[in-house]
């Protein structure tokens, strides 16, 4: 194989256009006669609308149309929730794209202005008068579940969207009643606000003469958006084309189909002109989905020598005012089923209550459910270690699932594919020189310095997933992926995929897969994605599934090409197919590599078809729909080293070492990039980020001045290592890596801070670990406050 194929760290081909500003995002696309939409959003978290006066706005300069909820009746169906969690009493409140009589979060859409310019549209918003009757609001999930809490939806008792449980293994109550030790904690997984570099945007263009609607949108999954839009807007799927041009990141916040998208489509249809809507950053903070927002009460039962016997938890998950597209599956399927972590836990029980609150809807956010699960398990293991006076690494070792290559069942019902958890931890401890760090920590403590070490050993579920499982868990779609590989006469290749990368680098890695399978240069392969009219159906890019599922489809399509090419080569070399051999893009008779046909030779012949074998079709092209037999389960071990300034409470992250196993790496540089970004987002949750609402439901962290994203100068160099355990069921053995870092790192940093503060008697601090929170916890532990 040549140096630039599978496994080599070639540069991302996406980068030149991205870093020179020549990429084309939704907002860069303007059609002749494009009109601009602006949305009036509710300033109240909960209010009744008595009346709306749009007359002044309607006659303002440049304004073409103003719509309120009543104008959309019968034209825009409610924004759909498409994960119908079974056996959970799921109740879905109607999410009207434009509010009818009640608004339920700051940001709920109340009216739409379409004008000739964006500025005119925004100016006209100020002229709309809405008569509101404010109502009491509730923003915290556990409070929303309480008696007497303000009720969001008349038809839904107790604000409860669902109550989901997972029970597995032995009797959970017995595990706790017979335990030598029990450790408990209450954790607040604070609300996070995803910050994709590109805010959301839609351009919709309806042609009345043909009944065709073309939509450019910042989506992670254009085929799903087409499917849902056809249902909501009533344009048949064959007349609807969704294009995801360059998409500047998503982290889960661009999975959902949003009211604003449907409204823009509606406006274009109504007005017969292209209509564009682009959100501002403030609007993004208010109305693009948020992540996390759990209150978790967790406990662990164990023996005196540190063997885990049971894990029990109750979680109140804030869902926001309405259920976003995939929301119900996040704090349940992607969370509760992962509570065994990397450990052998004989009994597990969790109750998850999904609650409506007067806040922005909560959706998947990098890791989506799994960071919240890892955090619970990794906290409990550390608490157990502290209680028993054991090193946290040792307690982990006593409970790890032993190495396995082809399937291991955990009591939550999943079958992990492959793993060597002790291998990852051992490598981590060696790379970090853990013993030495513990010695330095002891020395520092003598000098009144508070250094802490935090471990997080994780496994995550990704590569979603078998479609039969999708159906069984209520996901209203399939979870397979597709790929078309097409050779042109000159031997150049087009790859069309149904998934929709938006920053992850698959244009590069997928070319490497083709290069590895077929011996062409990756430079000869163009990867086409994101346009429903010229890519095969696929379910999109999220849940670290594009390579894990779409990459498998692509490898299998390439193998079909290889099989066909071999038949053609045999014919041209006048040999029997069984006698043919293949190596690095060349087909030859076994033992005679000197007289060969290259894949390019075959591509030319297949395309001109002058001399094809009997019964073989012209063309060199293959399509695969790949439905994975199982999920994939990447894993690893992370270590954070922090120092806490006890005087001010400031936490400094001094070192971060990661060992991740995502199977064979197609491009190790891209893997490292994904690991870096993922880790930093998880560190953000531990130390800085929090979407804060006041009791009235006003978002207090509504701009980048208040919401603290991680910054490079507050981070150490991240040390990235890996082990390689192939997935037994994936054609390339690969697992996902897009979310792994985030899933691991929050717990590692948190555990490190608690470890640092142990001599001061601090046992828990709410995240993010701001200096004030840390300082207050020290004061309280020292009895000073």
């Amino acid at each position: 194989m040549s140096a630039s194929t599978f496994g080599s760290g070639i540069r991302r081909r996406e980068d030149p256009r991205l870093i020179t500003g020549s990429a084309s995002y939704t907002d860069d696309i303007t059609l002749p006669g494009t009109l601009h939409a602006a949305l009036l959003r509710s300033p109240y978290a909960h209010a009744r609308i008595n009346g709306i006066d749009t007359s002044q706005a309607a006659s303002a300069q440049g304004v073409v149309a103003v719509y309120i909820g009543a104008d959309t009746e019968g034209e825009i169906a409610p924004s759909p929730c498409a994960w119908l969690l079974p056996d959970s009493g799921l109740t879905i409140a109607d999410y009207h794209c434009v509010a009818r009589d009640t608004v339920r979060y700051v940001g709920d859409i109340v009216a739409v202005v379409v004008a000739e310019t964006r500025h005119e549209a925004y100016d006209a918003l100020d002229l709309i008068e809405v008569d509101y009757d404010p109502l009491d609001a509730v923003v915290e999930p556990k409070k929303a579940a309480a008696d007497g809490a303000p009720q969001l939806h008349a038809e839904i008792a107790g604000n409860q969207a669902f109550h989901w449980t997972v029970t597995g293994g032995g009797d959970i109550d017995e595990a706790f009643s017979q335990a030598d030790v029990v450790v408990k904690e209450t954790i607040i997984q604070q609300r996070l606000i995803p910050n994709a570099m590109e805010p959301r945007a839609t351009l919709a263009s309806y042609t009345a003469a043909t009944g065709e609607l073309t939509v450019w949108n910042t989506t992670q999954n254009p085929h799903i958006l087409r499917f849902l839009s056809s249902l909501v807007i009533g344009v048949p799927e064959d007349r609807l084309r969704v294009i995801a041009p360059e998409v500047g990141g998503g982290f889960g916040s661009k999975i959902a189909a949003y009211p604003a998208d449907f409204i823009t489509m509606f406006c274009s249809k109504k007005l017969g002109a292209p209509v564009k809507w682009v959100e501002s950053r403030s609007e993004n903070y208010q109305a693009t989905t948020h992540g996390r927002d759990h209150v978790q009460e967790i406990e662990l039962a164990a023996t005196a020598d540190g063997k885990i016997k049971g894990l029990r938890a109750t979680v109140w998950a804030g869902m926001g005012a309405y259920l976003s597209t995939a929301a119900p599956g996040i704090p349940t399927i992607l969370h509760g089923l992962m509570l065994s972590g990397v450990y052998d836990i004989p009994a597990i029980h969790e109750d998850v209550y999904g609650l409506y609150t007067n806040t922005t809807p909560v959706e998947a956010y990098r890791g989506a459910g799994r960071p919240e699960a890892t955090f619970m398990v990794e906290r409990l293991v550390d608490l157990l270690a502290a209680k028993l006076g054991l090193d946290p690494a040792e307690v982990r070792r006593r409970n790890f699932i032993p190495k396995f290559d082809d399937g291991h069942d955990v009591v939550t019902g999943l079958t992990y594919d492959s793993g060597n958890y002790d291998g990852a931890l051992s490598k981590l401890l060696a790379e970090a020189d853990y013993q030495q760090l513990r010695a330095e920590q002891a020395e520092a403590r003598k000098n009144g310095r508070y250094i802490g070490l935090g471990l997080s050993t994780y496994v995550e579920i990704c590569g979603l997933g078998p479609s039969q499982v999708a159906g069984a868990i209520g996901f209203q779609g399939g979870l397979w992926e597709s790929a078309i590989v097409r050779f042109h006469p000159s031997g150049k290749v087009h790859v069309m995929i149904g998934a929709s990368p938006h920053g992850q680098g698959e244009e590069t890695t997928f070319a490497q897969i083709i290069a590895g399978e077929l011996g062409v240069s990756p430079d000869d392969v163009k990867v086409i994605h994101g346009d429903t009219d010229n890519t095969p159906m696929g379910w999109g890019t999220y849940g670290s599934r594009t390579t894990a599922v779409g990459g498998a489809a692509l490898a299998l399509a390439a193998r079909k090409i290889r099989d066909k090419a071999k038949v053609i080569a045999a014919h041209l070399l006048e040999a029997a197919v069984e006698d043919m051999d293949y190596d690095d893009g060349k087909f030859f008779v076994k033992g005679s590599p000197d007289s060969s046909k290259t894949i390019q030779d075959i591509a030319l012949m297949a395309n001109v078809a002058w001399n094809m074998p009997e019964g073989v079709e012209a063309g060199l092209e293959a399509t695969t729909f790949y439905d994975p037999p199982n999920f994939v389960f990447p894993y690893g071990a992370h270590l954070a080293v922090v120092e806490v300034d006890a005087e001010s409470g400031n936490v400094e992250l001094k070192r971060y070492v990661a060992v991740d196993d995502c199977g064979p790496q197609i491009n190790p540089v891209i893997v490292e990039g994904q690991v870096h970004g993922g880790i930093v987002q998880g560190i953000g949750q531990a130390l800085w980020e929090e979407g804060v609402y006041d009791d009235d439901g006003q978002l207090l962290t509504g701009t980048m001045l208040d919401y603290a994203l991680p910054r490079a100068d507050r981070l150490p160099d991240i040390e990235v290592h890996s082990t390689v355990t192939p997935s037994p069921h994936h054609p390339l053995g690969v697992k996902g890596i897009g979310e792994a870092g985030t899933i691991a790192s929050t717990a590692a940093v948190y555990n490190a801070v608690i470890d640092a503060l142990a001599p001061l008697g601090v046992e828990a601090v709410n995240m993010p670990l701001t200096p004030e929170r840390v300082w207050r916890s020290i004061q309280a532990a020292q009895g000073r406050n």
Partner: protein
């Protein structure tokens, strides 16, 4: 978001700018735009016109004049951070300017705009208060000079009147045996000061002969920490003496005035302010050559 509509005028001299301000009620001076434009975009203000002073040459740059360092109002944070004159003569100021925001902010934002805006979380007001700055203000009726104690009047208010322009700021040149420093607890999102402490000390015969300490970030307008200064003068600047003196900072903070927000409460800021005062003093003492 988008700014509301406004008219735009570019002034080529201070006199022209003053005249334009008089002609256009509700107008605002535009310098680097790094505080004003965000305010407009969030629609927190809607001036009828912006008077751009950004290309008036006479009010930018750093020069020494009669024992004082004079800094034109349009001098950028980056220029202040990089100025050898200020690095040696007013170290705390160049140090603070180098901690503002990020490079883009430092390359566009000006000292004049920073102090005229008088955001309580800004860095430069406390430093200028500490170093005893004087402010030259021009209006259609002439020029006047105001010292730092009178310039910063309160939350986002200064001695600059509606139709006036701040033209320059001057500082006494530092002398031998003296050192100054700025220590900052910066907000993780905005980078603004949660607590900012500026200190200037002079040492003669092994003991502190003069001290000036000012705080920003946690108060509406910068305050001098006189209790800290008094505790230091006459003492050798040992670590212990500095720490003890720094702990007196609470005496100079009025509990009702201390600011708090979702990130850091007033109570917390008051309780830990001494840490940054101590750091600024330690660094300033180390610079007394």
């Amino acid at each position: 978001m988008f700014a509301p509509q406004f008219d735009y005028y570019r002034a080529s001299s201070v006199a022209e700018a003053a005249a334009l301000l008089e002609q256009h009620p509700d107008s605002k001076v535009l310098a680097g735009g790094h505080s004003l434009i965000p305010v407009l975009k969030l629609r927190l203000a809607a001036p009828s016109a912006l008077i751009d002073i950004g290309r008036i040459d006479g009010i930018r740059g750093i020069r020494e004049e009669a024992g004082r360092i004079v800094i034109g109002a349009l001098t950028t944070h980056a220029e202040i951070a990089a100025s050898a004159t200020l690095q040696s003569g007013a170290t705390a100021l160049s140090e603070a300017a180098g901690m503002i925001g990020d490079p883009a902010v430092r390359n566009r934002g000006t000292i004049g705009g920073n102090v005229a805006h008088a955001d309580p979380a800004s860095d430069l007001p406390a430093v200028l208060r500490c170093l005893g700055a004087e402010f030259s203000i021009a209006g259609s009726s002439g020029t006047r000079t105001v010292d730092a104690a009178d310039f910063f009047e309160g939350l986002m208010t200064t001695a600059v009147e509606e139709h006036e322009i701040l033209t320059s700021i001057s500082l006494p040149s530092g002398s031998g045996g003296q050192g100054s420093a700025y220590a900052k607890f910066s907000h993780p999102a905005s980078r603004y000061a949660v607590i900012g402490a500026a200190a200037s000390v002079a040492v003669a015969d092994g003991v502190c002969s003069a001290a000036s300490v000012a705080l920003g970030g946690l108060v509406p307008a910068p305050v001098r920490a006189e209790a800290v200064e008094d505790a230091l003068v006459g003492k050798a600047l040992s670590a212990g003496a500095i720490a003890d003196a720094a702990r007196c900072v609470g005496d100079s903070l009025d509990d009702d005035e201390v600011l708090g927000d979702v990130y850091a409460s007033a109570e917390y800021r008051s309780a830990v302010a001494h840490v940054w005062v101590g750091r600024a003093l330690t660094a300033a003492a180390a610079r007394c050559g």
